[in-house]
C-alpha cells in the first residue's frame, strides 16, 4: 500500500487527537465502524451557544488512511455551523487525501462520524427524540 504525502502528514502529525467530555451538553459524540472490520472512529464536536463547532477531537483505531481521514475532518469541521459541517462529503475527503479505491471506505466512515456526532449533539438539545433525523 502506498500513501499520499497528505495521508502521511496527518498520520504522523495527527490534528486534534483526544477526548471531550461526552456528558457535556455542548459536546456531540459520533462512534462509527467496528473492531471486527478493522476500523473504529470516534469524532467529538464542541458546539458554541450560537451553533458553531468551536472544537473537535478524534480517536481512531484503524489504518493510516482511517487515522488521516478523521484527523482531516476535525480540521474541516472547526468553525463551521452544524449545517455546514453536515455537508462534508466522503468524496471531498478522499480527493483531498488522494485515497486509493480500496481506502474509500475510510472517507465514508469519516463522513458517517461527522453525521453521528451532529446527531448526538442535536439529540441532546431536542425535547423529542429526533436525533435520528440526521441519519
Amino acid at each position: 500500500m502506498s500513501y499520499s504525502d497528505k495521508v502521511i502528514d496527518h498520520f504522523e502529525h495527527p490534528r486534534n487527537v483526544g477526548s471531550l467530555n461526552k456528558e457535556d451538553a455542548h459536546v456531540g459524540t459520533g462512534l462509527v465502524g467496528a473492531p471486527a472490520c478493522g476500523d473504529v472512529m470516534r469524532l467529538q464536536i464542541q458546539v458554541s451557544p450560537d451553533g458553531i463547532i468551536e472544537d473537535a477531537k478524534f480517536k481512531t483505531f484503524g489504518c493510516g488512511s482511517a487515522i488521516a481521514s478523521s484527523s482531516l475532518v476535525t480540521e474541516w469541521v472547526k468553525g463551521k455551523t452544524l449545517d455546514e459541517a453536515a455537508t462534508i462529503k466522503n468524496t471531498e475527503i478522499a480527493e483531498h487525501l488522494a485515497l486509493p479505491p480500496v481506502k474509500i471506505h475510510c472517507s465514508v466512515l469519516a463522513e458517517d462520524a461527522i453525521k453521528a456526532a451532529i446527531a448526538d449533539y442535536k439529540a441532546k438539545h431536542s425535547p423529542s427524540k429526533d436525533g435520528q433525523a440526521a441519519e
Partner: protein, 411 residues
C-alpha cells in the same frame, strides 16, 4: 504516491524472513560460473558444456537430498514450492483417480495447496479441509477419523508461513503409512529450519523452496519417494526431463544455488537455531516488558526459531506497519490484503477477528542482529503506545468497558 524512501533514507530493517530471504553471498558465489563460462545445457550429452552442467546439477540434487535424508534420485527440480505443491497434489490425485478420489488437507495451508485442492474438487475429487487447534496444530485424532478407504493423499505443511508452528510430521507420517495413504508435506518454511528426515517421518512427497532458505528465487524441488514408489501425472509436458515428472531445461545456476543453500543449512542449522532462539526470546521479552496486552499467536514452543506472530491489542495492523516504517514486517490485518478479510490462518486458530486485525508477523533470520532487534523492540513499544493513545478502543478498555458488549454497526 511514495513507494520507496528517498535515496538519503536508510533502508528499513528486514524482519520478514518468512516472505523471503536474501540470497546468501556464498550461494551467489557458487552460482556465478554457471551463468557465464559453464553455461551448458545439463541435458546435452554430447560435449563438455553439457557434462559439466549436468555434474553441477546432480551434485545439487544430492545436497538437497542429504538435507532431508533422501536419495538424489528422489529429488525433482521445479520452479518453486508453489509448483512442487501443485505437482504433488494434482499429480498424485490424477494418477490414482481410478482407485481413490479423496484428499485431506488443513485450513491453514498455504494458498497454493488450498487452491490446488479446490481445483481438484472441480475435477470431481473430494477434499476434507481439517480445522486446527487453538495453537495452530493439527489434531491427530481428527486426522485419523478423516481418513477413508478412498483417501489417496494427506497434505499437511511442515511449518506454517504466518505463525511458524511446526506440525507433528512424524506422527502424521506414521498414521498415513499405517493406513496406506500417501503423505505430502509443504516444507517451504521448514527445510533448513528444523531437522527433517523423510525415512523417520515416513514422508512420501515434500515440497522445497529455494528463496526461503537463502537460495535463489525461481527454483524449488519436490521429493518423490521411490520405495514404496509414489507415482504422479506430470503437470508440464515436454522433453521428459526429471524422469518424466517435470519437463523443461533445468536452470543450472538456480539448481546449484539451491544445492549450496541446502548444504549451508545442513552445516549451520544447529548453531543458527540456537542463535535465533536467543534473539527471538530477547526481542519477545523486551516487547512484552514494555507493552501490556501483547498476545502470541500460535504454539509458544512448537514453532521455528525465526518466527513471532504478535497481536498488539487495540492497534490496527496496517496502521502499525505504517507507524514502524523503519521496519519491514507484515501483518495479518485485512487492510494489507486485497480481500479486506483478516488472515484466514489466524481465523482458523479461533483468533477473534478484531485481534487478527492487530497482528504483526516478525520474521528473523541469518542476517538479523541483536542491535537491529533491540531497536525494533524499542520502536514498537514507542509507536504502539502512541497509536493506543489515538485508539478509542484502548480508551474504552482502560475505562473498563467491554468492547464486545457494544453493538457495533459492521460495515
Amino acid at each position: 504516491m511514495t513507494h520507496l524512501p528517498a535515496n538519503d533514507q536508510p533502508r528499513p530493517i528486514y524482519l520478514d524472513y518468512q516472505a523471503t530471504t536474501p540470497c546468501d553471498p556464498r550461494v551467489v558465489e557458487t552460482m556465478l560460473p554457471y551463468f557465464t563460462e559453464k553455461f551448458g545445457n545439463p541435458h546435452s550429452r554430447n560435449h563438455m558444456y553439457g557434462w559439466e552442467a549436468e555434474e553441477a546439477v546432480e551434485k545439487a540434487r544430492a545436497q538437497i537430498g542429504a538435507l532431508i535424508g533422501a536419495s538424489d534420485k528422489e529429488i525433482i527440480f521445479t520452479s518453486g514450492a508453489t509448483e512442487s505443491n501443485n505437482l504433488a497434489i494434482k499429480g498424485v490425485a490424477q494418477f490414482y483417480k481410478e482407485k481413490k478420489n479423496h484428499i485431506i488437507t488443513v485450513t491453514t495451508e498455504h494458498k497454493c495447496v488450498l487452491d490446488a485442492c479446490r481445483h481438484l474438487e472441480l475435477e470431481g475429487f473430494e477434499v476434507t479441509y481439517l480445522p486446527v487447534r487453538k495453537d495452530g496444530l493439527v489434531d491427530l485424532d481428527q486426522l485419523a477419523a478423516a481418513i477413508r478407504e478412498t483417501t489417496v493423499l494427506v497434505s499437511v505443511m511442515g511449518v506454517n508461513n504466518e505463525i511458524g508452528v511446526i506440525q507433528p510430521l512424524a506422527e502424521i507420517g506414521a498414521l498415513c503409512r499405517s493406513k496406506g495413504v500417501f503423505f505430502h508435506t509443504d516444507c517451504a518454511q521448514a527445510v533448513g529450519k528444523i531437522p527433517l528426515d523423510v525415512e523417520a517421518m515416513k514422508i512420501d512427497l515434500m515440497s522445497i523452496s529455494g528463496h526461503k532458505i537463502y537460495g535463489p528465487k525461481g527454483v524449488g524441488a519436490l521429493y518423490v519417494r521411490r520405495k514404496p514408489r509414489v507415482r504422479l501425472v506430470a503437470q508440464i509436458n515436454g522433453g521428459g526431463q526429471e524422469r518424466g515428472m517435470r519437463s523443461g531445461t533445468l536452470p543450472t545456476p538456480l539448481c546449484v544455488g539451491l544445492g549450496e543453500a541446502c548444504r549451508l543449512a545442513q552445516a549451520e542449522m544447529a548453531d543458527e537455531t540456537q542463535r535465533l532462539l536467543a534473539l527471538r526470546e530477547r526481542f519477545h521479552q523486551r516487547v512484552t516488558a514494555g507493552l501490556p496486552e501483547v498476545y502470541l499467536n500460535g504454539h509458544a514452543e512448537k514453532r521455528i526459531p525465526g518466527n513471532l506472530n504478535l497481536s498488539f491489542a487495540f492497534v490496527e495492523g496496517e496502521g502499525l506497519m505504517m507507524a514502524v516504517k523503519e521496519l519491514a514486517v507484515s501483518s495479518g490485518s485485512a487492510c494489507t490484503s486485497a480481500s479486506l478479510e483478516p488472515s484466514y490462518v489466524l481465523r482458523a486458530l479461533g483468533v477473534d477477528v478484531e485481534m487478527a486485525h492487530t497482528s504483526l508477523r516478525i520474521g528473523i533470520g541469518r542476517f538479523t542482529t541483536e542491535a537491529e532487534l533491540d531497536f525494533a523492540a524499542d520502536l514498537l513499544i514507542e509507536r504502539v503506545t502512541k497509536l493506543r493513545s489515538f485508539s478509542p478502543l484502548w480508551e474504552m478498555a482502560q475505562e473498563g468497558i467491554d468492547i464486545k458488549s457494544i453493538q457495533w454497526a459492521e460495515h
